[in-house]
Every structure is written in C-alpha cells, then in structure tokens.
Symmetry: C2
Amino acid sequence: MITVDHIQFRKAALFAASVVERRNTIPVLSTLKVTANGSLTLVGTDLDSYASASLSYDGDEGEFLLPEPTKVAKALKGAGGEVVTLSQIDKKLRVEAGELTADLASFQSPDDFPAVDAVAEEAFGAVVGTDFFRALDRVRPAISTEETRYYLNGVFFHKVGDWLYRAVATDGHRLFIADVPMPGSSGDLAEGVIIPRRAVERAIAAFGKAENGVRFAVGGAQKTNRKDTTLAPTTWNSRVGFAAAVGSLDLSLTTKLIDGTYPDIARVIPSGHPITIRVNRAALRKALKSITPLSTDKTRAIKLVATPGQITLTLNSPDVGTSHFPVAAEHQAPTGFMIGLNARYLGDAISSLTGENVDLGLTDSAAPMTISDPADLTFKVVQMPMRV
Amino acid sequence: MITVDHIQFRKAALFAASVVERRNTIPVLSTLKVTANGSLTLVGTDLDSYASASLSYDGDEGEFLLPEPTKVAKALKGAGGEVVTLSQIDKKLRVEAGELTADLASFQSPDDFPAVDAVAEEAFGAVVGTDFFRALDRVRPAISTEETRYYLNGVFFHKVGDWLYRAVATDGHRLFIADVPMPGSSGDLAEGVIIPRRAVERAIAAFGKAENGVRFAVGGAQKTNRKDTTLAPTTWNSRVGFAAAVGSLDLSLTTKLIDGTYPDIARVIPSGHPITIRVNRAALRKALKSITPLSTDKTRAIKLVATPGQITLTLNSPDVGTSHFPVAAEHQAPTGFMIGLNARYLGDAISSLTGENVDLGLTDSAAPMTISDPADLTFKVVQMPMRV
C-alpha cells in the first residue's frame, strides 16, 4: 500500500496526464505509469512528449498503471481528504481518498508502457528563468497552425550572439521575435531547434512561473547527418527537455523537436524604415477594440491613414458600414500615407508588447511594417501589409 | 440627431438583441427597430419573441433601423465615452461614441420590420416577484430538449389551488414541480400554458432579479377553439408577456406559447411511499461529485444501496472500474434495498434544492422516487429509476 499527500498526488497526476491524448487507439497510452521506488513517479505520454512528476510517499515499492488519470483526479477532488492511498487488490488498483473507494480495472501491464524518452547526448543546456518562458509566450501568437509548412508549427530557438538567444515564430503573415540572454549556457545552438507549439504551451503552463530556475536541455539519442548539406553536419538535435522542482514536485517534460529547416528569417526583417509612427499603446488598443467588432470577416482588415499629429484607423465592412477611430500620433509620414493591416495580427502584436508606446516602422504601403516598443529592444514584430 | 446615455443605450440594445438570431435569412430580422418618440424604443425579434427596451433621450423624433446591434454594442463598449449620438446622414446611420464614428449601412427600411407583437385580450395577469422566476429556474433543468414531444420543450404553468400556481417541467425521465402563490392575480389559468424554454431562460435572465415587481400576462390576439375537445373551449392563450422597469430602462418581452397539450402529470406523482431516506444534502452532493467523474457514459448510472444508518452510492463503469461512496442516512429501508438512478438527474434535483437535508421517497426499485426538502414543500422532483 502507498500513501501520498492528496493535493500533491492530484497535481502530479494532472501534470503527467497533460500530455495524454483524450482518445487513444493504443489503450496503454491512456494510462499513467506509476513507479514507487524511493519516490513515486507518474509518467504520461502521447509518444511525442513525456511528462513525469515525482513526489515523496510512504509505503511499498512497486510499478503499476493508473487508468483514466484525469477522471481519477476529478473524483479525488470531489472526495477530499488529506491523503490518497493506492493498493493492488486482485489485479485491480484500489484508490482511496476521504470516503471514496475506487477499484480501477487494469487491462494492461506496466511492461506495455513505452520506454520513457529523455534528452540524451546533451548538445545544449542552461538553467532558464521566467524571462525565457516570457520570450516563448510573447512569440507564441504567431506560431503557424497550417500543416503544410509543418516546420512553422513551433518556435524556432537559436543563437544570435555570444550569449544571446532568439525565439522566433511566424505564419508567413507576421513574424514575432523575442531575444533572451543566456550567459550560463553550455553547448551550442547555432543551427537552432524548432520546439513544437504544444510543447511550448505545456512548458509555459508548467514552468512559466517557476522561480528557482528550470533546466532546459536540447539533445538527441539518434545521430544522423542532415540531408541539407548547406548546414554543418552536426549531431541531430531531436529532443528538448524541461525539468524543475515546482513546490514539492519534481516535474520534467521531454518532447520531440520538429525535424525541419526553419526559413531564413533575416531576409524578412527590414533593416531600416524611413517612417516611424509613435502612438500610445493603450490608445491604439482602444481604437482596435472599438472598430474591429464592426467587421464581419475574420482578418478584420483595417486601413491606417496618417494625418498631421494623428493616425486614423478605418474599417470598411460591406455588410455593416464604415467606422473611423483617430489616435494621436507622433510621426513624419506624408499626410495621406496609408497602409492596410490585419487588425487581429496588429492586436496580437500589441498584446505581446508591454510598454507605454508603440513604434510602427514603415517604408511604404506594400513593404513589411515593424512593431516595437521604443523602451524594449528584446521584442519585435514584422507584419506584412494587406491590400484594402 | 439623438443623444442617449452610453451605458443605458448599450444595455437596451443588448436586451432587444437577445432575441435576435445570429444568422437570419430575412435581413431585416438581424436589425433592431429604433423609434424616437417621447422615449427611445429599441425592438428586436425572431418572429416568435419580441424584446423591447425604452429609455429617455434628447433630440429629434424618428424611426430607423440599427443593424448588427451586438457588434455595435461591442464597438461602443470599446470606444467608451459618456453618451452615444445617433444621426442619419445620406441614408446611413451614424453612431458616435468617444472617438469612434461608425457609418452603418442600412439596406432595409423600418417599414419592413414586422409589427410588434404583444399580449392582447389578457386572460391572466399578475405582478410577480423574484419567487416566480425562482420557481421557473428550479424546474428548468428538467425541460425536455427532444423535439418529437415538442409540448415538453417548455415549462407548464397552471393553477392548482385558490391562489396557488405551479410550474412543471419534465423530459419523461424526471419531473420537477415548483409551486408559487399568486394572491393578487386576475383572470384564470386553469387550463395552463406552456412557456417555451428560451422564453423561460430569457425571462429569468432579464427579470429574475427585478426587485420592484414584473408584470406577467397571458393572452392572445387570436381566438380559436382548441381541436382537443377534452379541454373546455376557451380563448386560446397564445402569448405570454413580461414587462418591468429595470434601472432606467423599460423592458418587455413577448413570446408565443407552445401550442400543445401538456400530459396529465398528476398520474405520475406518487401519492405516498413506504420508505423515506433522509440524507444531508451537502454529503449527497459530495458523494455524487466524487464518484460520477469515474463514469464513461452520459447517464452516469449509479446504484444506491441501503444498509443500517447509511446509503452507499456505487458506480460501475466497465472501462474504468467500480467506485463506492457511503453517506450517513436516516431510514427504515430493509438492509440491501437497492435502486438504480441516473446520477446526472439526481445531481440536477439536488442543485434545485436549497435546504440542509434531502428526503428520498421510495417504494421499490422499479417505482418512481420522489426527491424533496423536508423543510420546503414548494418544490418536488419525481425521478424514474434505472436498471443497473
């Protein structure tokens, strides 16, 4: 019999279950593998990702499967009580909490559970803080969801300077860039890795607020040379791992990286722009919030027109009508300067910024626009214009 | 030009828009008709229901259509400001708030808007308070959503005593009954009316918290004799209306009643039951909350077994396992007495009760069970058992 703290056990089960698919054709993947061996470790997987949570326990050593972990966690929450006890009775797993007794059927053996994946042959390692996850979170809105260019379905993380690393996401229409210094890192990431969207989301959710540092590692068990010979033939980095102690749980998350070549983004970033329009971020947000509801299409195309001392956002929806919202602005754009923009993308960019002002860097109505905070050089957006 | 208070106008537009369908094949039904004539009245309809809100305004008299009212309300909220101004410019409606100017296209004429429906030839009228809406709200979970027996898709409201009225809802598996005294009512509702689900929901949302009384009326413009000759040939009550001053708005809601014959529910209510099981309501709720997550089917069938001084709730899910949760109970049921129940329905019944204890009235495992609060005789549930 095993006795564990109720709340910690529930947290551990939910973390490990966070990578478990709702519906599984392989039944064993709907369970968690539980190993009691000095500490109690719960592992879940969807074969691409492995989430593991360890906590202290009292009782016997052993290895078993916990079926339907999210349902069990919900039932335990309903039952309350200080501790959860786990025991094996007649090939069933008995889970007890408060007044609840649940005898869970187990049709699979823990031996059927896939071998747990981890980062082997570490190519890059660092202890990262909240700024790292903040960088991932800021670029996240631009991650592509289109499956044909699968290599855009994640965040491209790579080295750009001596100790400066860069997180990039793009869907072809906008490009979000966040820089994060990593002075204490070991190894190299010159080639860069593509961390899949779901791993990014899970890492932010699990570790984004960890205050004592999170171990971030990239590596791979498999050694292959890339077919693309324009890149140096190095060890293929196939895995990314995050690990940290969060509260009294030891959490780790290992995920397969996206195996692809990220486009050369340097070409897309404008090197300079003759026109800079500076606006108050809150005012721009208010203007967008006010005119975009009147759109009927998904892109919410708007027109930005410069007049002396202000810019006017105009939305023209054939079904609803035309709306205008002027915003005070500092700029040297010629009067009547106009650019068409996807308002949803502009809203995403503004949400990833935090400062008082926003600088819009422009060349003409056909060239990409940059969006940045004059007081924060670590984050930048490049947005393509629209025809309106 | 018309000037109105920003917040009140937005509330009025959203109330009138609450009956407007999201997608309309008849374009004029996606708009609100606005009449400025002493007060400003906004009306929306889906042809079955009419919602109208009136407020004071400054400015000209007139009549026009407000297209896309929910989008406009959202845009106004984004724009802020103290007032909203409405003016007609070149066949367009100009709406202004804060810095926002929206010129709304209008392809229809206010003459195309359907004539507003209201309760005519009032057969029943009363000023109702929060207890009336509370009664509707308590029986609401049992309203059927199955369309073949369309006459169950609402709340059956009828007279049961001198000044006692009853709200009833059933889906054939459970029957919820709430009584409400209406001493000051005029007219008669002996035959009863079936108020459709959406009208019930809208009335609760709009008027459920009105503290100064809500005018409730039943009647109809059309006089026809029912085809069903088992009922007395009276005026056909085809409309129900609610009206009240809420804040500084005058709100009214008129809806077509369901034209059908409600089944004779008296036959279903057990007249007595040899076994009463009394349990603490919070304890029963905790037991349900704890074992039902372990179910994989929608009905969440559970077994209730009586043993001396307690009942045990058992859920047997072939995919997950078997769980038990005992609850202390006062009863004289023979040991081993068993009944199968739909746990979701039992949960709904418990949620509509408010007291400390719950009485389960039982005859045998095949007969309907009553669920009631020993301290509150105004509400009762009859639930059919399940085979488990």
